[in-house]
Symmetry: D2
Subunit: 295 residues, 4 copies
Amino acid sequence: MEKFYGVIPPMITPFKENGDVDFDGFVSNIHKWNKDKLTGYLVNGSNSETAYLSEEEKLELVRLTVENAGNGRHIMAGTGLESARETIRFTNTCAKLGVGSVLVLTPCYYTNAMNSGAMIRFFTEVADHSDIPVLIYNVTKFTHVNIKADAISELSRHPNIVGMKDSNGDVPQLATFLRVADPSFQVMTGTFGAWYPALALGTTAIISALANCAPNEIAEVQELYDAGHLERSRDLYQRMFPVNSAVTGDFGISMLKYATTHLGYTGGYVRNPLGDSSPEEQAGLDKVLQKANIL
Amino acid sequence: MEKFYGVIPPMITPFKENGDVDFDGFVSNIHKWNKDKLTGYLVNGSNSETAYLSEEEKLELVRLTVENAGNGRHIMAGTGLESARETIRFTNTCAKLGVGSVLVLTPCYYTNAMNSGAMIRFFTEVADHSDIPVLIYNVTKFTHVNIKADAISELSRHPNIVGMKDSNGDVPQLATFLRVADPSFQVMTGTFGAWYPALALGTTAIISALANCAPNEIAEVQELYDAGHLERSRDLYQRMFPVNSAVTGDFGISMLKYATTHLGYTGGYVRNPLGDSSPEEQAGLDKVLQKANIL
Amino acid sequence: MEKFYGVIPPMITPFKENGDVDFDGFVSNIHKWNKDKLTGYLVNGSNSETAYLSEEEKLELVRLTVENAGNGRHIMAGTGLESARETIRFTNTCAKLGVGSVLVLTPCYYTNAMNSGAMIRFFTEVADHSDIPVLIYNVTKFTHVNIKADAISELSRHPNIVGMKDSNGDVPQLATFLRVADPSFQVMTGTFGAWYPALALGTTAIISALANCAPNEIAEVQELYDAGHLERSRDLYQRMFPVNSAVTGDFGISMLKYATTHLGYTGGYVRNPLGDSSPEEQAGLDKVLQKANIL
Amino acid sequence: MEKFYGVIPPMITPFKENGDVDFDGFVSNIHKWNKDKLTGYLVNGSNSETAYLSEEEKLELVRLTVENAGNGRHIMAGTGLESARETIRFTNTCAKLGVGSVLVLTPCYYTNAMNSGAMIRFFTEVADHSDIPVLIYNVTKFTHVNIKADAISELSRHPNIVGMKDSNGDVPQLATFLRVADPSFQVMTGTFGAWYPALALGTTAIISALANCAPNEIAEVQELYDAGHLERSRDLYQRMFPVNSAVTGDFGISMLKYATTHLGYTGGYVRNPLGDSSPEEQAGLDKVLQKANIL
């Protein structure tokens, strides 16, 4: 598999007020994103409120993504479940629907037991039995597990594990993963907050919540960097940084959905236990969007 | 619903070497526990590796528990999923199978958003739609969420929320929950490490991993306390304490299963990503069991 | 040295508005406390803002405590500094002034290096060279170090280490320390939040911030317990619990000083970087004091 | 004050086997460093075991630094103590000895009270009364306090607060500080692990433990970057990265001293509670140094 270049949105899942998935809104977002500077789509990632979906809903979202994604766009599906057995089953169900790769969350329930041995045991078994390439998803703020360099070093040499999304924004750790991993293994950042430094370190792709509402600005940071306009790239990164912080903070998803709606897509409602953003939070976000000059 | 008095084991799920659930072993454990000093059974708790089970497997375990539990024993099923919607659906499926109550884990995926507002929103909706009584399950070492006193105070007044299992071992917090909750609401400890102090504070029931392998000793701590033999109760608590630490430490479940087998039940294998205990760990546990004089 | 029985206040240090130590206020507090149900005094503890004092100020506070403490009251001085060398020097300076024992904070600056080896190395050297008995002070919320059972087990056998103050409120850990320590070693709780369970576990003394403003109520919890009035003891503990929470919360010391003033002692100002409590915080505390019925 | 450009070592303090400061060794290090590519010296930083020194020792180290530093090299002294009052006193004592600036640690003892209000209150008072420019020192792994962007934004506008050392290696946070601070305020990284990304973000100076033993390599990363040889700069950064990890890990200072000795300087012993490195740790470090090709 070739390495990714560019921006992949971890697509939000819009809900209706009654809590049903708004599949039409989801599809209309894809059609809009098809015109944006994007490389592919991640369906059923953290920003999709995947933890809140039934398996049937997840599969329908995968089907709709495969059906509606623009030509040549890569489709990645989040399929991580806590056990290797369940992850393999769900991964291969998604593979049959036509996705190109799967992004598998580090298991995390028994936090203290999730050491490098557990990571190697889990991802090796999943990759051994997955019909399509596997990427590792490391996001400590949700899982409270942080995969270590020794596990990445070993797993990066598995022929069916092709890369990872590291959403921690820990740039020295990103540098470490880049140093210890097999050259064939792709280390991607999973947060816009690390995008410019990650480009400087040599990464070439990003899967970021912000790509739901500001995909082109993220792509332009990379275009400018690769064209040698380092200062302009950095300035754009700094200009967009507060927007990213606002949509990925403590009440991230409701704010991300509000911003996404504000910028012309379909955000929709969140699912309980999440709550909708307050008028004060929305007014705060409006200011951030204005200051970033992206309205 | 009357308050519980006594000991409830969060039953382990034995697996075969090939990873299948060993349903026969599970049933044989229940038949043995039927002769122990137990008040009821928790099926699909944390110690059941529930996170690693398919929904079909979970339902089969519920059915077998209902079928095999001794006369008069209460059956509680763990049914917490991350969204209220999914939790309600699964709760009522279990209710139809004949369980007496459900133990619902605090949702935890978007950790920082899981404030008291989210807890109240989630448990209220679940309890509003649950066909059987709901208990709250707080276990911060796995969820990284710690429900707060204001949420317990409010939720304890919901007519369909009857109690909680607090597995944190934070005794001042337990005292706080006991103080702020509605008198009808039952606060139970979820760890033997807090059992003697919890009795002193007025709790009357425990759901503890240790009850898988040493149920009667846990019951005797309470019998002695309630008979006014405080010192003997405390001595037994202190004698069993290291056993509890050994089976609920970092590699808890594999060690718990080893001890359970050692003490005459069917422990079985764990599921990947968990790994089996090493000979060194097992030798260490043997010493702890000998020192506690329970072999 | 005999074991302590009863209540020891970690005395606050009142400051004047200009930041100078209010030595007169300090002495007047001792004279009032001399009439309360107290066993001794701790000078230069955490609640004394010791970290904010010059060495000269600390020594003057020790001198004044020795001079003014009531007959038969034990005087303990906090003397922990980060290195064994400095701690020994300061400990023996205080010893010459007539204090009866020293309470030595766990060193903590290089947090991750402060393992059991470091604890044993440090406290052994300090105790080897201290002219008076040494007690260990464990308070993780300030130090971010938590001394382990293996270190307590070993250090409790040193002839010049006579006990510890554990301020974590972690009752299962307290039970562990009581179990592994030499019988001659005294485990005291350092927070009222754990007082009733600690009594149940067999501890006989407490050093608690709350003793600055409500010493007699703390003593009465113990008197009731020891007289066999368990329920009345527990009720008083629960009644005073919210007061303790209010004066030891995030902005602890300014609130503790406000409450101390409110209850007839001299609280005084705090030192920068601490800030004085706000009118809203004070109004909140007034309500807590009223509800606890101790005004 | 002009902004710094280049590398400043936070100088280690060599101790003799009996625990005395090895002042001769300290001076001989300065004479060697005078020939290295360094911009200045930090005396009494975290790597100096400052927490373990008496005030007299600290002042002697300052005097010796002033006396022996090479021509034109800036001298910065660590002077942070927990209270503003003590910090001001010690800062101005050091100022009289001829240091050019002071690096002031965030106060941290009452962790939860150390919010932005406390930071602003503390640093404003210190800077108001300091005779020389003040820099803020943020190092969460030791202090467990992390200064926030709002505090940096405000403090960076104080005429006598000229910059900060951020040792967290949190590169998105570094980008934030660079964005919100007054342009006159200098944000420096305090760890080599963030050096290359920090250069990419526009910082121009570093104060790093590694500069004790590998100063020229750190300087060369910057020289290469500024000459436009981005890839060579990054390669050197990646080559030296494991050395930095080895000398700043959990047992950092004893390993840093071992490496410093190994590379021709005087490392010396550490002070209790720190322990000397084990033969195994030393053998591990030898391999890291060989692999980095700097022996």
